[in-house]
Symmetry: C2
Subunit: 247 residues, 2 copies
């Protein structure tokens, strides 16, 4: 995995920032460090592929990078095989993974990223599908994919848009930690809850929590790591999380 | 469907009430009206079947009804076929539906309720599985069921624990209405968002919104109905929603 280059963002929208604004610095240095000039954008998590590609592309162009939507390619598999960088945006995780399976892109993306070191950027649903499985998504199952198994670019799960329960909340639906604990009643993999504004930067066998500081004003955490049968642990931006890649 | 008797609750817990306390009146009259003495409880949405059955059973006994957990029956299908009433509790919707499929209970429960008029009580996940599909659950997909299609005791979807977005919220994850709109980009069925504390009572071809009044203190809605391509509509407890059964 010495070539692996990943930037796995919790979200593209963060309170107090414009669209993707919180990530501009990390995104620019990630792509420049990898000598990327043109990004292949995957808009499959939403239904308006043109509009979504334009929204992300306008930010990328402002930062100095070109952007092409995979949906405009005559052969999406070939587009993946020739891409300088792959960016999968957020939306609905089930729709996204279902589309990746239907267009037979799961294997080709995985191979490009893990074997050839093609940089991968994910946001929200695009971060969910980069992990072992989509089993820790927050999204509604609006379509049924062939499998919940995903790209497995990292050997654990991520919960994007992570947030601790409100101390005085009156809603009785399961809290995020309760939902992740339900996952751990049946599954073993660690789950990294990434607060909005944070991202996991993976450089080969090293993983670092990145983002603006403080990532989410008013919250005491940037990420919370859940392991089966253990107390969860808080991490701040700058933390070395490489140990998660060795599990 | 002249025999159909359903009480589909949004949740078993409501702010300001003890466990199931908000539903005691509706639950008692529903079971008494149907001459039920013994309830078959289905605890499959959680992993602690004994503890869950005891928790619900203690409330039912206090109200004057007996309660047996289906997990203690030597033959669960036979238990369904001889049950006076079936009560499916909440927890994780994916785990629940997966277990119903694995134990080959989907067909038998559907037949008992729709053909023989056996009363059905659902709460949260138990309400999700009573509808067309589990595609409007709030739960994490911790296991993959064979299908998202559910008992289809009613021809629409329900979103339990429904809540409107907070007016001044800073979290940027999709709101509940945004998630339901994503469902409607790919699916046609109406989605009834049931606020905590409310339930849909179905008596044959009539459906009524029930619950304490106000169901959720401080909120202007008891239920919100979403239809594809239309503005959502608010309903108060007492509303006749029979039209949903004819779609």
């Amino acid at each position: 995995m010495g070539k692996r280059q990943l930037l796995l963002m919790s979200s593209s929208a963060v309170h107090g920032f414009g669209y993707l604004e919180h990530a501009e610095s990390d995104l620019t240095s990630f792509l420049k460090h990898n000598s990327v000039q043109e990004v292949l954008f995957v808009p499959y998590a939403l239904t308006d592929h043109d509009g979504y590609t334009e929204r992300v592309g306008s930010v990328l162009r402002k930062l100095g990078f070109g952007c092409t939507g995979i949906h405009t390619a005559p052969d999406p598999v070939r587009a993946v095989q020739t891409a300088q960088a792959i960016y999968i945006g957020g939306g609905n995780t089930f729709l996204l993974l279902d589309t990746l399976y239907r267009r037979q892109l799961v294997g080709p993306i995985r191979e490009r990223v893990l074997q050839h070191g093609v940089p991968y950027v994910g946001s929200s649903a695009g971060t969910n599908v980069a992990t072992r499985t989509i089993q820790t998504t927050n999204d509604m199952p609006i379509v049924q994919p062939a499998s919940f198994e995903a790209l497995a670019l990292v050997p654990f799960n991520i919960n994007p848009h992570y947030l601790d329960p409100e101390p005085n909340g009156t809603h009785k639906g399961e809290t995020r930690p309760e939902r992740i604990n339900q996952f751990h009643e049946l599954n073993e993999a660690p789950v990294l809850g990434l607060a909005e504004g944070t991202a996991l930067f993976v450089d080969g066998d090293r993983a670092t929590l990145v983002g603006p500081q403080p990532a989410v004003p008013g919250t005491p955490y940037d990420a919370r790591l859940f392991r089966k049968g253990e107390e969860s642990v808080l991490y701040k931006v700058g933390s070395d999380l490489s140990f998660l890649l060795r599990e």
